[in-house]
Symmetry: C2
Subunit: 351 residues, 2 copies
């Protein structure tokens, strides 16, 4: 091998869920919203001629509308290319200690990938036997903390009191609460932003806002931490948010009625689906997200995963310790979930 090969960064990349090009499938594998974006987004006009010009590097239209929506100052909002970009940028900005950062053993599978990418030491305290966070595990010296609430891929929401306990016990560290799924259940940590100067809350447009295809995520914190994030962002890429994202993202936030309506529909379908597969001997962890994490009494999850895929129904399977007998099933429309329930019923009967 050439000498330069020694200088190439070696990584074990994150493997995203499959994005089948075949559109004739029921796609319940990457937690997308079954409903499209708001009519306001459809009515938004992207003037193609202006695409010759750079977008606003401060993304101020989007930042302002998000600040207003959440009742914070624009200096408290950072936007990026999906919450993955926001989280990666946060790791790069905030986690520069020799001490290990902490996140759960079972959680979003990108955290350890970012830690490896940026050579950040990390430890992964185990969730308890019910997949609950043990807050006391985070009461020790660390270089930072990150966890999702609700957690992924379990869907379990931790009470905001526990979140606050972790934040308040770690005043020397930055604590990132990844709220990708909070709109589907639970209380946000946003109410704690004014009280703690070490808290960063991260959100995404990809789930509750039906805009995974546009790539928009954001962080809310105090102006000091948001400035630190922006400084790093401007040291990486001045113009991350393209014009269509800025225009359509802004319109989306303005339609709160549609947003709440679709979120309610997804939540209602989730509860309906959980009840529907119970008689088939499935158990779901209590979900506050737009997916359920389900296990069957007898049939290995991997087998169901493969059989569903053969029937053109995509769900997510993680071949990882402790969760390798679970399926993560995104919540689609009632009709899609009925079809999946029907498939499961037949599959179990014929097996």
């Amino acid at each position: 091998m050439a000498a330069w090969s020694d200088n190439i960064r070696k990584v074990e990349p994150y493997v995203p869920g499959e994005q089948p090009k075949d559109t004739d499938v029921i796609k319940l594998n990457t937690n997308e919203n079954p409903y499209g974006p708001s009519q306001r987004v459809k009515n938004a006009i992207v003037d193609i001629d202006t695409l010759r010009l750079y977008p606003d590097p401060t993304a101020s239209a989007l930042v302002d509308v998000l600040a207003e929506y959440h009742g914070v100052d624009p200096s408290q909002v950072f936007v990026g290319v999906g919450s993955d970009d926001v989280l990666a940028m946060s790791f790069l900005t905030f986690f520069n200690s020799d001490k290990p950062i902490l996140f759960p053993d079972i959680t979003y599978s990108f955290y350890d990938v970012w830690a490896e990418l940026f050579s950040i030491p990390y430890e992964r305290p185990a969730l308890d036997e019910n997949f609950r966070l043990v807050k006391e595990n985070y009461y020790r010296e660390n270089g930072g903390i990150v966890f999702p609430n609700p957690n992924a891929p379990t869907g379990i929401y931790e009470d905001i009191k526990n979140v606050e306990d972790i934040v308040s016990h770690n005043k020397d560290s930055i604590v990132i609460v990844d709220e990708a799924y909070i709109d589907f259940g639970g209380e946000s940590a946003l109410g704690l932003i004014d009280k703690y100067d070490n808290l960063v809350v991260v959100r995404t447009f990809s789930k509750s806002r039906s805009m995974a295809g546009l790539r928009i995520g954001y962080a809310i914190s105090n102006p000091v931490l948001i400035k630190a994030l922006n400084d790093v962002k401007y040291s990486y890429n001045s113009y991350t948010m393209n014009r269509p994202s800025l225009i359509m993202g802004t319109e989306s936030v303005k339609d709160d009625e549609y947003f709440k309506e679709t979120v309610s529909k997804v939540v209602a379908t989730r509860e309906r689906f959980v009840e529907a597969i119970k008689p088939l001997d499935f158990t779901c962890l209590p979900s506050s997200a737009n997916f359920v994490f389900a296990t069957h009494k007898d049939i290995p999850a991997k087998e169901i995963f493969q059989a569903a895929k053969d029937a053109h129904i995509y769900v997510r399977y993680f071949d990882k310790p402790r969760i390798d007998n679970y399926l993560r099933i995104s919540i689609g429309t009632d009709e899609e979930m009925d079809k999946f329930t029907e498939f499961l019923t037949n599959y179990i009967q014929e097996r």
Copy 2:
């Protein structure tokens, strides 16, 4: 200060050119194309309902069309959110040596920002007194090499033979040739890709393709280096290119006639403008880009910059050693350049 402040990455961010919100200005400060994107881009249909779905993480439609356009295999193409994203990702991927990377003292001002961000040691061999690259300065041990051709902000193109000499003298390092402006003049290093396994060529849609507002850049190299780049990209953000970028970017590449026509117009206007300001005692460095780097016999560049801005004409001024008496003037339409020439004529007379 709280203890966490020690762990925050401190950076001196890149400062992009101003993006005035006032549209009633002549904007010649960030090297955008005065002509809008192709009619094919205008005709492209972005189905808003599909925005609920993640984009193709491999960006294969765009990768395939670029591969075909450049006569390479799709495994040789990497795409990102503007060439800044592609370059930043390349620094992170390829420049992991303890030896310093090398780039010119006068060049794109993001290179040292990325080196600082990722803690990469670097040295900056000086351009000669005519702002030409001294290739022999790059014939020494290093951790990688990066330079633009044509260079920015000078606009000077180095003969492809010199580029090849640098690549061939550095078989143990990755050499990145940043060809943001190559469509406006000079021979691309793409012809050397098959010959050298240490060469990466970076391109952008922001200048010649009239699409700064969409944020698309790409790299072409051999499949080994492109895979290394993709591995790091997938470790950072699986879905960087949003659906509008994929759809409209692909359409743009398909309209080669319009592309060549607009590039020719910009080049013709550039030559016309250089001649027009000569009688006003301006000297321009020989430009192969969509901008000129101009200095006046008597009047300090900073004064002209400010006077032009007061007259709602934006050009770029760099308060940096060796170039602080130059203006970087993007090439607009003939009409815009005539207005700027008229302004300069009056300004010099009345001064």
